[in-house]
Symmetry: C2
Subunit: 352 residues, 2 copies
C-alpha cells in the first residue's frame, strides 16, 4: 500500500518499466485503456481547474526534451519526455519518458513512474476518447497509417472503447505492418494489410495517422478522404512535422487539446494562427456539439497534453494501492528537525 | 561504474538521500563544496553555451513547485524543487528536490538524484564562489543572520573556499543558533552567538542573510551596513519575499545570476525593472571587474539558477564513477525492436 503516513513522506513509490508491464497485464490491456480513458475524460470535464501551459521544450538538432507540468490545485504532475526521431536507427525509442505526481500542499512528490509505456497507453486512450465523441455513429473500421510503436495501442484502445474491430493497416515498411499484425493476432481483430495509404482508407470510417520522422509530410491528401470520416492525426507533433495536406484541414471540423500548444506542434501549424478550432474539453463537457452530421469530416489534431499525463499518473497511483507493483525510493531528505539538514548529513557517518 | 554501454541505456543510476550523504561524507564536506564550486565556476565561464530560461513555477497558496531546466548542448538537466515555508511547522522540509541529467543526443536520462541535500550544497558553494570574486580581500569574519537548514552549509563553504573562520550568528529563535553552533563545533570555527542582527554584523566583512517565511522582511537596515562589506543575500527568493531594506540595495553594487529570474524573485524585485545589475558570470570570466575598491558595498542577490543545479548533477555524476553510492533504476522501456513496445508489454507475461 502507498502510505501517506507522515513518517513515510520521504519515501516515493516508483513504478519501473517492469512493474508497469506487470500492472498493465494484471489489469488487462483493454481494461486498462478503458479505465484510463475514464480518468482522462474526468479530467477533461474539469479542464478549467487545471493550471495549463504549453510544454517547456529544449530543442537540439537531434530532437527535443520536454517538461510538461500541470496541476489541479491539489495534485501537481509533470512528465519528462524526449522526442528523437533518429533514435530508432540506433535501436532506441523515439519517445521515452517518466513522470511525477506531487502534493500541492507541501510540495512532496508522491509518485515516480516510467512513462514510455504509460505515454503510449494514454495517447491511445485519448485518441479513442476523442473518437467516442467525434467519429460517425457505428464506426467499426479503422485505417492505421504508420504501424510503428504506437499502432497496436491505438488499435486496442479503439476496440476497447469504441468496439472497432476491422483494421486496415499500411506502413511504408512492410515489416512494421507484419509486426503490428503479429502483435494483434488472436485479439479479436479482422485485419487487412494494405499496399498503400489509398488502399488503407477504403471503407474506413476512422483514419488514424501515426507516422514519425517526416518534415511536412503528406500522408493523406485531400482526394483520399471521403465525407463523414473521422481523422485521428496522432503523428507529427513537432514544429515542422505534419502528416496531412492543408486542404484536408480546411474542410474538416478541427478539435484540439490545448490550442496554444497545438498551434505550434500540431497539423494546424499549417493554418493561420487564428484559424477556428474547437477545444476537445468543450465537447466532452457537452458545452459544444462534436460531430454535427454524418457527412462532416472531423479531425482530432492530437499532440498530447500535460493533463492526459496527469490523468494517467493519477490512474496508476490509484491502481497501485494494494499491489506490489512498485518500489520505495529514498528520494527526499527528511531530518527529524527540518532545520537540521546539515546535522543529518554529519550523523549519517554514525548511522552507516 | 556508470555504464554508458548501449545495452544498459534503459537503466538510470539513482542517488538516494542515503547514498548522497555517504558520497558527501566519503569525499568530505569541505572538499565536496570546494570541488563543487569548481564545477559551478567552470559552467559560469561557459555561460553563453547554456540554454537559459526562468524556472517554470506552479504557485499555490501554500507554496511553489518549480522545474528548472537547462542544457549546454550536450547534456540536459533539470531540477524539481518545491518551496513551502510553512512545511517546517509540520516537521517537513521547506525545500525538497530531485534532479535529472540527460543525453541531448538521444534524450535518454543518465542520472536521477536526490537534490534536497545537493541543493543545500550548491547554494552554499555558489555563495562562496561569488564571495571569492566580490568580498573584500582578506575577509575572515562572516555574520550569518538566519541559522536554519542552510546556515551550516554556508559557513562550511565559506571556510572551505575563502578561509572564513570567524562566525557571528544570529537567529530570532535561539534554538536555531544553538543547533548551528553544535553542528559546527570542532570544525575549526571561532563562533560568536549574537543577540541581535545589529550585534552580528559588528566587525564582519561578509554578511550572509539566510532567513525564510517573511513577507518583505527587513533583516538588514541601511544603518547596519558599513562600507566595504560584502552582502550574501540567500534567503527570501520568492515574489513578495525579501530580506534587505531598499536603501541598502541603492548604495550597493548588485550582482545576480540570471536577471530575468532575479528581478522576479530576488531582493531587486524592490527596484525598477531596468535598475542596473551585473551578471555574476561576467565577473567570473573576467569581462567585468567585481569589487572595485575596499570601500564599496557589494551584494550578491542569490536566488539559485538552473546552471548551478546542472553543475551539481554533473559533479555528482563524475564522482559516482567507481563508487557504490547509487542504485540502478529500470526507468526506460527498451524493447529489442524499438517499434515493438506493444510486443514487449505482451511478452512481459511470459518473462514474468
Amino acid at each position: 500500500m502507498i502510505s501517506t503516513a507522515r513518517k513515510d513522506i520521504n519515501i516515493v513509490p516508483f513504478v519501473s518499466v517492469d512493474n508497469m508491464m506487470k500492472l498493465v497485464l494484471d489489469i488487462g490491456i483493454e481494461t486498462f485503456l478503458k479505465e484510463l480513458a475514464g480518468f482522462i475524460e474526468e479530467d477533461f470535464k474539469r479542464w478549467e481547474k487545471f493550471d495549463k501551459a504549453p510544454r517547456v521544450a529544449s530543442h537540439s538538432t537531434e530532437g527535443v526534451i520536454e517538461l510538461m507540468p500541470t496541476s489541479d490545485g491539489d495534485v501537481y504532475g509533470f512528465k519528462y519526455v524526449n522526442g528523437h526521431p533518429k533514435n530508432t536507427r540506433d535501436g532506441l525509442q523515439t519517445v521515452t519518458g517518466f513522470g511525477v505526481l506531487s502534493n500541492v500542499g507541501n510540495g512532496y512528490p508522491v509518485l515516480l513512474s516510467e512513462m514510455t509505456i504509460l505515454t503510449a497507453l494514454r495517447t491511445a486512450a485519448t485518441s479513442a476518447l476523442a473518437a467516442k465523441y467525434l467519429a460517425p455513429a457505428g464506426a467499426n473500421c479503422m485505417a492505421i497509417i504508420g504501424n510503428g510503436a504506437q499502432s497496436e495501442f491505438q488499435a486496442t484502445a479503439f476496440k476497447a472503447i469504441l468496439g472497432v474491430k476491422k483494421l486496415r493497416l499500411f506502413d511504408i515498411d512492410p515489416e512494421a505492418t507484419e509486426k503490428c499484425c503479429n502483435n494483434l493476432q488472436g485479439k479479436g481483430f479482422e485485419i487487412t494489410r494494405c499496399r498503400s495509404a489509398e488502399e488503407a482508407v477504403e471503407g474506413a470510417q476512422i483514419i488514424t495517422t501515426v507516422t514519425a520522422d517526416k518534415q511536412y509530410a503528406t500522408i493523406l491528401t485531400d482526394n483520399m478522404v471521403g465525407s463523414g470520416i473521422h481523422i485521428n492525426a496522432v503523428g507529427g507533433d513537432c514544429p515542422g512535422k505534419t502528416e496531412l495536406h492543408k486542404d484536408i484541414l480546411l474542410r474538416s471540423e478541427i478539435f484540439v487539446e490545448f490550442p496554444p500548444q497545438t498551434r505550434i506542434e500540431g497539423e494546424i501549424q499549417q493554418l493561420e494562427a487564428d484559424y477556428p478550432v474547437t477545444e476537445l474539453w468543450t465537447v466532452i463537457t457537452g458545452n459544444i456539439e462534436g460531430r454535427l452530421n454524418a457527412r462532416q469530416t472531423t479531425l482530432f489534431d492530437s499532440v498530447g497534453f500535460a493533463t492526459e499525463d496527469f490523468s494517467a499518473l493519477r490512474y496508476v497511483r490509484e491502481k497501485l494501492t494494494g499491489t506490489r507493483f512498485f518500489e520505495n525510493l529514498d528520494m527526499l531528505a527528511d531530518p527529524d528537525d527540518p532545520r537540521d539538514l546539515f546535522g543529518m548529513v554529519l550523523r549519517a557517518d554514525k548511522a552507516a
